[in-house]
Subunit: 126 residues, 2 copies
């Protein structure tokens, strides 16, 4: 069922349906766009600190996000090596790559939903 | 296509896909859960001030939200009467009721999407 609200939309400018999605664990956000970006940047930079900086957040906050995520999942997602010849650094586990791939797929399906809703909203304007 | 991440989910506790939606006009949020609640409370209380209080926001902020919404749509959504025997007050236009009905329907379709995504996420856990 869809209520048509075309008569209350302006004919100029553009409307669309937008939104955001996340995975919840026991009622708490556990994986959404923010943590996705953090994982991507850790993969890119090899460092939680550098990833945090690129996102304009503190190292402490980024570490808190990763610690929470590691606890909310069955497997460790970010592997941190301290010291050693390479001076430590962080990398992603296979589980993290699987989670990121899942998130990309989920977003694609969500984009399809949003596009279809936008089409429905504008139906009689076309 | 769906990537299965079941192996990285805990078997205890519950996961679900959650999210939020809104209508955008020229790239700006114009109608989502917040404005929906505001309209519902104006309808209930007959007053922007009372509605704002129930939402824990200032009258000024609520008025700003309504002014913006009125500008983003083709029709006036909140009708404010000043003075008079009844001492003024605010009520919703037919356009506002149509918008609210649309929003309820949209949310129902979104809930269906979220449920189906949650099912997909947990598929091999069942």
């Amino acid at each position: 069922m869809s209520t048509n609200i075309n008569h209350i939309l302006k004919t100029t400018g553009s409307y669309k349906i937008a939104g955001t999605l996340w995975v919840e664990y026991i009622g708490e956000r556990c994986f959404g766009p923010g943590r996705m970006e953090l994982l991507q940047l850790i993969d890119k930079t090899g460092s939680i600190n550098k990833a945090a900086k690129e996102m304009g957040m503190s190292y402490k906050k980024a570490l808190g996000m990763i610690t929470a995520l590691n606890l909310q999942m069955n497997q460790t997602l970010v592997i941190t090596q301290t010291g050693g010849e390479s001076g430590g650094g962080s990398s992603l586990s296979d589980a993290a790559f699987a989670l990121m791939k899942y998130h990309v797929d989920l977003r694609l399906r969500f984009q399809t939903f949003l596009k279809s809703e936008t089409k429905l909203l504008l139906k009689s304007q076309l």
